[in-house]
Symmetry: C2
């Protein structure tokens, strides 16, 4: 019997150091909304997405490469930037052929942590590109870490649910000795028939935060598989479709 | 309307710093088996339990106070100590009136972290004393942190399930803005009718580790509410019944 590769779920960036990042494909998961928006922009023809960790860096790079600058702070487009974090801001007719410079906090920070720890490869995952992520991981035959971006290191529900969705779909390709993975899968099994309702009923903090900004449409899109089914891969500072 | 106190769940010692330990009652949760054994020894009349973090310290204190020294490493009684980590080693006829000096790794480390961060009060929780913990927390009217001891900082299923059991019982006494708490409760709701079966089915790592040592009886006891329904409170280096 061939040995299956391992799969671990890191529920928070503060737990990433516990896993063998160096040897693994790391999936950056920031469901509401960074990685959903990244998948959507790339699906709609963006040339690449450059994730950056600050507004000032976003402005600087945007100028250098004539890119679209985007990012929010407290639910508003950040001062000095042009667009926000909503996937609906990046339809094909707007974003095709352009480069999106996106500043996010939790997801970008985790991506840079994975990079510093020398991960084998970094990809991004979200419900809109769940299928592409699963197909790739199942065929890659490499160890995987599902890295939840969480919220300021606090474990969150939507990223955990996405990890569970991946495990639900392709867990049998992996040797999983990781309680976080098993209970992400259990949580997803409980929630899968109505992710939006589950987030509401279980008082997910991010659900309430975004609902407070009037973003129900965003939440529903970001919890629905298949809307942007491509695979973003990180290469030399950029996320590209491979 | 009176403001309810907050309740947070820290799924790993590596996440404890995210919460306001200083202002809270911290519940140390190390279901398999440290806090179950602590509750049992105290329920059976132990004068106190002194948790220590190393075998050498256990031997040293055991000599000083003429206590029972106990602790395991890799499923065996550690060299130089007298007893192990099983709650069944501490029946009333043996432990009544004695002091147990217990070395554990994950639980003791978390307890010392909570102590250093100046927690308002430290108690220990396990299924055998679930009721006493819930009664106390519900009546105390103070902020609570449910602190899972985990396994070398990796989130584990049984400690998360215990947090969920507490929230399931008394969550309505608290203002809970914490996804970890909500999904601990969701996990528990899914598991509560057969915790042992749930641990087995979902491949909980500690379940397999202890089953490998032939400890099914321990696991079943440690997942059953009510076997040792007292409240261990930490005071000046000792856990005592209050």
């Amino acid at each position: 019997m061939t040995q299956k590769p391992s799969l671990y779920t890191s529920l928070s960036p503060a737990l990433l150091h516990l896993y063998d990042v160096n040897n693994s494909i790391v999936v950056i998961i920031d469901v509401l909304r960074a990685t959903s928006t990244i998948a959507t922009a790339l699906f709609n023809g963006a040339r690449s997405v450059i994730p950056v960790d600050s507004v000032s860096r976003c402005i600087e790079i945007g100028k250098q490469i004539d890119g679209i600058t985007a990012g929010e702070r407290d639910g508003q487009i950040a001062e000095g930037l042009e667009y926000g974090n909503s996937p609906f801001e990046y339809p094909r007719e707007f974003i095709a052929g352009k480069t999106l410079v996106l500043t996010t906090t939790n997801g970008t920070r985790l991506l840079h942590m994975a990079l510093e720890k020398g991960s084998r490869q970094i990809i991004t995952g979200s419900f809109p590109n769940l299928g592409a992520v699963c197909d790739y991981l199942a065929s890659a035959g490499q160890p995987v870490i599902l890295g939840c971006a969480a919220w300021k290191d606090r474990v969150n529900m939507e990223d955990t649910l996405f990890a569970g969705a991946v495990i639900n779909a392709i867990g049998n390709h992996f040797d999983i000795n990781c309680d976080s993975s098993h209970f992400a899968a259990s949580l997803y099994a409980r929630a899968k028939n109505d992710l939006f309702g589950f987030m509401k009923k279980n008082k997910a903090s991010h659900y309430h935060r975004l609902m407070g900004f009037g973003l129900e449409k965003d939440i529903r899109y970001c919890l629905t598989p298949g809307g942007a089914n491509i695979l973003p891969v990180y290469e030399e500072g950029k996320l590209l479709v491979k």
